[in-house]
């Protein structure tokens, strides 16, 4: 077993958490994505109301992680943190500002220092200039390689599915492991032969609040859609590259660079200002040449629900069809949702003329 394979896991719940710091403290960061192994149901679902985010409920399931990091990204997450602290699991709540100013950047940087201290409290190594620089280099290297792989292929449906699997694997595996796999070109295997059939499919943009469950993507594939653009935590809002730092930088300069990189990434629905996100979405839609937008959100996600009027406005302006699908986390599209999806496709194709 290699050294990095023995490192304890730290679960992360939000794409604004700089994983580099966790790695620098001697842990392996791991994004909570499905399938989550449910060992003990007695605690989380019963403790939170029925009309509550199912992703947060998923984050509360006991597992083998040494700790979990939340952000103040939404009310449900905050309450999830409250609840998990009652069962003595080490948890940290990172106070994430919604806007990007010099003052909020300084504030977030301070919060990252608290995170580093907490990691030491739960048995991690102190984050030093060297360890942080090493982790940042490792992640940068990995992200560059990933991007190269991802850019090799066209926007073809099978590729999108594989790409999501790859990104989700990246988010849930140690960076060393992903690099090892990339070296043997394991992930890209078979991608090039696939996807020729995508031409007849309907190009759509899929947007949403959190990571799309792979079965949702499969449902869409079966409904004859081609995903030409995605706007998810795991896609355009994917963990960014901290590529401006230099090795001569001191610890605080490194931290500053990391802070700015994360706060500057494409905004998620929770961030203000809405117009910044609206402009980002409008450009994404325009450049994707999608014929429709499917907005997929989790039930009881307020940020997601507030995004629906925004998306409708953008789609109206660009004369693009829009469909909102709402499900619980880890559920597939079936029954009435399936009918909506099929009707959406029929409407875009406009085949049933007189």
């Amino acid at each position: 077993m290699e050294k990095w394979e023995k490192r304890p896991w730290i679960d992360v719940t939000c794409s604004y958490i700089p994983v580099e710091i966790i790695h620098a403290a001697g842990f392996t960061p791991r994004r909570v994505v499905f399938p989550v192994e449910v060992k003990n149901k007695a605690f989380s679902p019963a403790s939170l109301p029925v009309n509550f985010c199912s992703y947060v409920k998923a984050c509360l399931h006991p597992n083998d992680a040494a700790g979990i990091v939340f952000t103040t990204c939404c009310d449900s997450m905050r309450r999830g943190y409250d609840l998990i602290t009652t069962c003595k699991k080490p948890a940290f709540l990172l106070d994430l500002p919604r806007s990007l100013t010099s003052r909020t950047t300084d504030y977030y940087q301070e919060q990252l220092l608290h995170l580093a201290n907490w990691l030491v409290e739960i048995g991690g190594k102190p984050v030093t200039r060297e360890s942080l620089a090493n982790s940042m280099t490792l992640y940068n290297n990995l992200k560059y390689q990933l991007n190269n792989h991802l850019q090799e292929s066209n926007n073809i449906w099978e590729f999108v599915l594989e790409k999501q699997k790859l990104i989700q694997a990246f988010l849930t595996t140690s960076p060393e492991e992903v690099l090892k796999q990339l070296k043997v070109n394991f992930w890209a295997a078979g991608l090039k032969e696939k996807g020729a059939s995508s031409l007849k499919k309907i190009p759509i943009l899929l947007s949403g609040t959190t990571l799309p469950e792979v079965s949702i993507l499969t449902n869409l594939m079966e409904s004859n859609f081609n995903l030409v653009a995605l706007d998810f935590c795991g896609e355009a809002r994917f963990t960014p590259l901290a590529d401006n730092f230099s090795f001569s930088a001191n610890f605080f300069e490194l931290l500053k660079d990391l802070t700015l990189t994360y706060l500057n990434k494409p905004p998620c629905p929770r961030m203000v200002f809405q117009e910044r996100r609206a402009a980002y979405l409008a450009n994404l839609l325009l450049s994707s040449k999608a014929k429709g937008v499917i907005y997929y959100s989790l039930k009881f996600c307020d940020h997601g629900l507030y995004e629906v009027p925004l998306w409708r406005r953008i789609c109206q302006q660009q004369k693009t069809a829009f469909l909102h699908l709402e499900t619980e986390y880890q559920s597939s599209i079936s029954g009435q949702l399936g009918t909506r999806l099929q009707a959406f496709k029929e409407a875009i194709q406009g085949r049933f003329l007189t």
């Binding site: 103040t72 806007s99 608290h114």
Partner: protein, 421 residues
């Protein structure tokens, strides 16, 4: 045709313009001035005058109107020379007039989901009906709930006016640093808003003094409420809470709480409780349904159960400082136990339950309120440990379609039977 129907009908036709004219509120203000209320009704007159004055000034547009969310200290905006307008409060006012369904429907038309908090949906409906004074700027404070920030952001886009966001540090780590940081934010905000608003030091002095005076009266009111039986109806207190959410820092706020203190002193002195046959005392968490409903009559008249105190009326902050206004305002914001880990709220609930010698605690679970409903588990567990009975009463403060009369009655009755032991 009753008044409610008359207003509702006018909302749907040209009559709407009367509600958006300053002269309409000015006229009502004059009429109110002639009202000589019975003894004990003075606070109601002051509160009515305050709202009419606020609407009159907001429509007259001599001062900039600043839309903000509940729990943003109103002193902040009064001190900056603006008129604070909290649409969530006006959603409750609309509900009390029976008009909420009209506005909720409007919000639905604009694609706002019924899963969102009805305070915000009601406010969005009022905005889309253009039945609220339009803002000159929108100032959101990132405390309490996500819905408030998102709703205010949508309002700023709707009215095409500047949007400011004040990040409120989450009080988990280093509170002292958080206060300093927030004070700096407030100072910077005041500087940024200077060209838009009228920041004058004498206003700050006035606002701080009024706020502190009102706070003293409110402290006295809260102390008088410890008397058994209760001198003040919980249902009224849950409506009057809007005065400390919006009127602190004004002459109205001070006068309101001064009269309220006088009333309650008189009631205690002359042994005139609001519920002579008081059987149970309750602590109320969160707000109440504001549309006409039977809930409090059912508790008070049928079962002799008085809401002795409400968490939203607790004075959790220290006096504001005239010399270091922004620093003390930052302290006020951060002292709110409803912001931050749920444990802060739970600790306050236990201590209020002890202080007001209640028999049980009711949490009114507002349908779309994730931050409050998410803490029910901890509230229930902690109160159980302290042997304080707890009821989580599901309902809705604004949307009466989510109020289940039969079920609510059964739950309340069972809870009261449980208190009887």
């Amino acid at each position: 045709m009753n008044i409610k129907e008359l207003i509702a009908r006018n909302l749907q036709n040209k009559g709407i313009k009367y509600f958006t004219r300053p002269s309409f509120y000015f006229l009502l203000k004059i009429l109110t001035a002639f009202w000589r209320p019975q003894k004990g009704r003075w606070p109601q007159k002051i509160s009515l005058s305050f709202y009419l004055d606020l609407l009159h000034r907001a429509y007259r547009k001599k001062q900039p109107v600043v839309w903000t969310n509940v729990y943003t200290p109103p002193e902040l905006i009064w001190a900056l020379g603006g008129i604070p307008f909290m649409p969530e409060i006006f959603a409750a006012v609309a509900a009390s007039l029976g008009l909420a369904p009209f506005f909720l429907k409007k919000a639905g038309e604009a694609w706002y989901s019924t899963d969102l908090c009805s305070f915000h949906r009601g406010a969005l409906g009022m905005m889309h009906s253009r039945l609220v004074p339009p803002p000159d700027l929108v100032l959101a404070t990132s405390q309490l709930c996500d819905g408030a920030v998102k709703f205010l952001e949508a309002a700023s886009a709707f009215y095409q006016c500047p949007f400011y966001l004040l990040h409120i540090p989450y009080p988990v780590t280093s509170p002292a640093k958080a206060q300093t940081w927030l004070a700096e934010e407030l100072t910077a905000l005041a500087r940024d808003l200077k060209p838009l608003l009228l920041v004058m030091p004498q206003t700050i002095n006035k606002v701080a003094n009024h706020s502190n005076q009102a706070r003293e009266h409110l402290l006295a009111v809260n102390q008088l409420r410890q008397q058994i039986p209760s001198p003040y109806r919980g249902s009224e207190a849950l409506s009057d809470v809007t005065m400390h959410l919006l009127a602190l820092g004004t002459t109205y706020g001070t006068a309101f709480y001064r009269h309220l203190e006088d009333n309650l002193s008189e009631r205690v002195k002359n042994k005139r409780p609001v519920l002579p046959q008081q059987k149970y005392r309750l602590l109320w968490l969160h707000f109440r349904p504001y549309y006409p409903n039977f809930l409090f009559d059912f508790l008070e008249k049928h079962h002799g159960a008085a809401v002795a105190f409400e968490e939203v009326n607790a004075v959790t902050w220290e006096k504001l400082s005239v010399d270091d206004f922004w620093f003390s305002l930052a302290a006020k914001i951060l002292a709110n136990p409803l912001w931050g880990p749920a444990e802060r709220r739970v600790v306050q609930a236990v201590s209020l339950a002890r202080l007001y010698q209640v028999h049980g605690v009711i949490h009114f679970a507002q349908g779309g309120c994730r931050q409050s409903n998410g803490s029910v588990f901890l509230l229930r567990e902690t109160l159980r440990r302290h042997k304080i009975p707890f009821l989580n009463l599901e309902g809705d403060c604004i949307d009466e379609r989510n109020f289940m009369a039969g079920q609510t009655m059964t739950r309340l009755e069972s809870f009261l039977e449980l208190l009887e032991g």
